[in-house]
């Protein structure tokens, strides 16, 4: 099956998914920052009592907040979250993920279960890993000012 056919037919669950970080809207921005730093992830989803996403907080929002409202780290995340977020289910095709990310300019997409509850996180990094695993080749990893070294990437 060609790469294009795989992207059109493979479900989201074929992409390396990550556990989603969630917080209630009453948590502070500082708590979100600590959670993101600990998990090395750039996004926290804000959820209601049913664990359904109602917003998100990202690294980009953090930069804007630090510049315009540096005391916001002690304030509620519900007052500073972005209300634009996109849900997707594990069974939907990867092509839809690409459409969502490109059409809505998203870096992160929330994977939800049948009841609309947060289930996992996917996005740009997972998609890059999916593509790379399907076009394995010798990769030249170069750093500025040093000699390149080779890594043989043999897919998954």
């Amino acid at each position: 099956m060609s790469l294009k056919q795989q992207i059109l037919s493979d479900p989201i669950s074929e992409i390396p998914l990550r556990p989603a970080l969630t917080l209630p809207r009453s948590a502070t921005v500082g708590q979100a920052v600590d959670l993101m730093r600990g998990a090395k992830l750039g996004c926290v989803f804000v959820v209601n009592q049913k664990d359904e996403p109602i917003g998100k907080f990202t690294e980009r929002l953090l930069i804007h907040l630090l510049l315009t409202h540096p005391r916001a780290l002690d304030e509620k995340i519900g007052d500073h979250m972005a209300k634009s977020w996109a849900p997707i289910q594990r069974v939907e095709p990867i092509a839809r993920l690409i459409d969502l990310m490109q059409g809505l300019d998203l870096r992160f997409v929330c994977v939800v279960d049948d009841h609309g509850r947060v289930n996992a996180l996917t996005g740009q990094k997972g998609l890059m890993e999916y593509i790379a695993e399907r076009c394995p080749r010798q990769v030249k990893v170069s750093r500025v000012g040093s000699h390149p070294y080779m890594i043989q990437r043999e897919g998954a």
């Binding site: 099956m1 060609s2 790469l3 294009k4 056919q5 992207i7 059109l8 920052v33 993101m36 730093r37 750039g42 690294e59 980009r60 953090l62 930069i63 804007h64 630090l66 510049l67 540096p70 780290l73 092509a95 690409i98 459409d99 990310m101 490109q102 300019d105 870096r107 740009q124 990094k125 998609l127 890059m128 890993e129 593509i131 790379a132 695993e133 399907r134 076009c135 394995p136 080749r137 990769v139 030249k140 990893v141 170069s142 750093r143 500025v144 000012g145 040093s146 890594i151 990437r153």
Partner: protein, 165 residues
Amino acid sequence: MAKRQRRPAPQGEFHDPLSDYGDEFADPLEEALVRRPISAIQSQPVAKVAPTDCVKAAMRKMDEQEVACLLVIEGDRLVGIFSERDVLDKVAPRFDQVKDQPVRDVMTPDPVVVYETDSPGSAINVMAVSGFRHVPVLDVNDRVVGIISPQRVTAFLREHFAQTA
């Protein structure tokens, strides 16, 4: 990806086994990932900052230009990247202490790069292997000519679906 399939040589004739392959790629997307120039997925111009610029000014540039990272250029040489992740890890916990310091103190030095002679597929592999979402593109003289970002890769994939649907 599809395996390369060699056509059989005609009887009694010399045949260079390395010169006559059938269709190497299963679809135009795979071919584009290998054969297109890296300029097909790189962004220009790139957002830059000097290593001596202060952290707050760099963050303001990221916020105003809505970019996820700045290339740190000294003279005409790339010396680092200052990214959203650097803000999360190194700036946010002590913003008041570092906001007036030079970017050099909090940037990621010696970034992973690709060269303009590489293919889009190789660049995507480098992103996957290194874990960096943004990879600068250099020319043969090690000068920055662009940057690869996931947004441009997804745009490339989507454009390709539209072209070949």
